[in-house]
């Protein structure tokens, strides 16, 4: 197997506060293969954006990486000095944020921002950098790119601005692009264009993408694999088709059922998960999802599940651990809901 572009192992991110240390990301591991698009989904507060910030070394103090490893193409990057990290950020990891207005400097012309980025990371002449900037703008579909080089960010529309940000992120051919809610601030008709652009341009360059979003539709259209987070922990990770169509973690399965879709019967009540995600200081013992889970049994309330193989995915749920003493009733119900439980006890078999 080829070496992953990004490898996150047992990542822990903590926020020391007066009332004690809050663990925002707890023992999270995943890999991104070369050229792969990994979608990271979860509800607000699940730790999606923090994971991205931890990878690029931009955690807001007092937040800190308190454990685990982050490797970029095999090289450890979580313990680098800020100066070293700066040479990686922008050069080897490109970033796209939700609001393009905050990632562009309003006082500089678009062309200058692009050439500055290129010149910071590449030993080429100013003229060559400008040519490259022009080609980039053309590539991301900015009409009349030549004249737009000297325009300011406020002279672009929202969608065009996000195109510029994509050009900026990919200016020096990074191995990995971290896109944090890249289309959330955009209208649907523009969102579709930006997703298509991001997909095409990263595929052309062979860049891997970590796509952070709360919109499952965007993930379904874009990602190869998905990682579902819940309360700072991994719930499920697997190929996008499997996670969307045959989710194996009860949270992932509840989440998929709760999404209103353009297919299906509109008169049917939406499936809903009772309650809401726990606050950081109040994460329950055992599995973080157990108080809201319809399949929780004794073990879920005391022990924290590892990620177990579940169909084509990995799910952090005891339903998938052959060592769990699954109550037959629970196993039966879970199997009915399409969850491939580890081992259906003899009593539950027909």
């Amino acid at each position: 197997m080829t070496e992953p572009v990004l490898s996150v192992r047992n990542l822990i991110v903590e926020f020391p506060t007066r009332r004690g240390v809050l663990r925002a990301i707890d023992d999270l591991s995943f890999d991104i293969a070369p050229g792969e698009v990994l979608g990271v989904v979860g509800e607000s507060g699940a730790g999606k954006s923090l994971t991205g910030a931890a990878i690029i070394g931009l955690l807001e103090p007092p937040g800190r990486v308190a454990g685990g490893e982050i490797r970029l193409a095999g090289e450890r990057i979580d313990n680098l000095s800020p100066e070293r990290m700066r040479t990686i950020r922008g050069k080897r990891i490109g970033m796209i944020f939700q609001d393009p207005l905050t990632s562009l400097n309003p006082l500089y012309r678009i062309g200058d921002q692009l050439t500055e980025t290129i010149l910071t990371h590449e030993p080429i002449s100013a003229r060559a950098a400008r040519d490259k900037a022009l080609r980039l703008l053309e590539e991301v579909g900015i009409p009349a790119a030549e004249t737009r080089l000297s325009a300011y960010p406020h002279q672009f529309s929202g969608g065009m601005r996000q195109r510029v940000v994509i050009a900026l992120a990919l200016a020096v051919d990074p191995q990995l692009v971290i896109a944090d809610e890249p289309t959330t601030a955009l209208d649907v008709s523009v969102q579709a264009q930006i997703i298509a652009l991001l997909k095409r341009i990263c595929a052309d360059r062979g860049a891997s993408v970590m796509l952070i979003t709360h919109d499952m539709g965007v993930i379904a259209e874009t990602a190869d694999r998905v990682c579902v987070l819940y309360a700072g922990r991994l719930a499920e990770i697997g190929p996008v088709r499997d996670v969307v169509k045959r989710p194996q973690h009860p949270y992932a399965s509840g989440l998929m059922a709760a999404i209103p879709s353009l297919a299906g019967d509109p008169d049917e009540k939406l499936a809903q998960i009772p309650g809401s995600m726990p606050r950081l200081g109040a994460i329950p013992r055992g599995c973080a999802f157990n108080p809201r889970c319809g399949y929780a049994f004794d073990r879920c309330r005391t022990e924290r599940p590892d990620a177990y193989p579940a169909g084509a995915s990995q799910a952090a749920c005891f339903l998938h651990d052959a060592a769990s003493a699954l109550p037959p009733e629970v196993a039966g119900r879970a199997a009915e809901a399409g969850i491939q439980v580890a081992r259906v006890p003899a009593e539950a078999r027909p």
Binding site: S189, A220, A258, P260, S261
Partner: protein, 338 residues
């Protein structure tokens, strides 16, 4: 029972919107105009919108930013005066000159639920005071004990504990706050509620809870909703009829089922195609380039003409009339006879 209902005819609509128009003046102050030159600048946010909502139904308005959704919502509850046209509720003009007493009675029956439950609840008030406010404002229950009992009832109705009344808004999650906002809206016993993006600020699992609650309340209390959203999948789930707005004009209006199964206007089709597809069927897309033009200077003729794949020469000059097509009404030259 009304005469119409006795004759087996459908009841007259509760809400009627006729020729609604709102123009905002964006001009610089007079002195600047005189010194620097330049004339008046105006933005037509809502341009001749007609629709009606029958009792117990949900009419959804969908559109992208700048389409005029929220401006219509504000005019429907009387927070903004129309430049022309009217919104009538049970025959009474919301912005009209009916007697103070009639106005008061009508206002009690209109309520609104806002997008952001973090901004729409006063952080310094306890929940019971927030929910009690409309009851007091309309002088509905003079006895404090009765009011407290009513607040408890309202909180249970939206799935909260009556004891939650003693807490402050910050002690609740986003979804629970939206429930408080709904309880407050129900306090004056309205029959018409305007929901302006009520779930856009919420996570999906919580969004489902709130949508189900709104629907349950509609069935129980016979409420009529004007539901504003940019999310088509959500609209499909709640609406009886849907109106699609583009730059202030209603380009299509149809029963929800028909709009989603047989969209007519090219813009509606494009919107439906642009929704990221969780079903992953790999559907054929009608992708459309370009973005919404600046509403200060919209394209002439049909506003959609620069982005429309079926554009014809007269689309650029002639504003399309509203055409009736079965149960649907569509504003597009493609559907003209001949």
């Amino acid at each position: 029972m009304t005469d119409a209902a006795r004759n087996g005819e459908p009841a007259p609509p509760l809400v009627e919107v006729k020729g609604l128009r709102r123009v905002f003046d964006l001009s610089k102050p007079l002195l600047n105009r005189l010194l620097e030159g330049g004339g008046r600048v105006s933005l037509t946010a809502v341009d001749g919108v007609d629709f009606s909502i029958r009792r117990g139904e949900t009419f959804a308005l969908v559109g992208e930013s700048g389409s005029g959704k929220s401006t219509i919502a504000k005019m429907a509850v009387g927070l903004l005066r129309p430049s022309a046209g009217s919104v009538t509720i049970d025959g009474i003009d919301v912005a009209g000159k009916a007697s103070a007493d009639t106005q008061r009675r009508m206002r009690r029956r209109i309520q609104m639920i806002f997008q952001d439950p973090y901004a729409s609840l006063n952080p310094r008030w306890r929940v019971h005071a927030i929910v009690e406010e409309p009851i007091k404002a309309f002088g509905m229950l003079p006895d404090a004990k009765e009011r407290a009992a009513r607040v408890g009832e309202l909180l249970s109705l939206v799935g909260l504990d009556p004891r939650d009344g003693q807490k402050f808004p910050h002690e609740f999650s986003g979804g629970q706050r939206q429930r408080i906002a709904i309880a407050r809206a129900l306090a004056s016993e309205p029959n018409f509620i305007v929901c302006d993006e009520p779930t856009s600020a919420l996570d999906v699992s919580v969004q489902a809870q709130v949508l189900n609650l709104l629907r349950e309340l509609q069935d129980r209390l016979g409420l009529t909703y004007l539901f504003i959203s940019h999310n088509l999948a959500v609209v499909r789930h709640v609406a009886t009829r849907v109106g699609v707005l583009y730059l202030g004009r209603l380009v299509e209006e149809a029963p929800a089922r028909e709009l989603f199964s047989d969209p007519k206007h090219p813009y509606t089709r494009m919107l439906l195609d642009a929704v990221p597809d969780i079903e992953m069927e790999g559907k054929e897309r009608l992708t459309i380039a370009g973005e919404i033009p600046n509403p200060v200077n919209p394209p002439s003729g049909c506003h959609f003409n620069p982005r429309c794949p079926f554009v014809m020469p007269h689309c650029k000059t002639v504003v399309p009339p509203v055409l009736d097509r079965g149960n649907a009404r569509v504003r597009c030259h493609l559907f003209a006879e001949g």
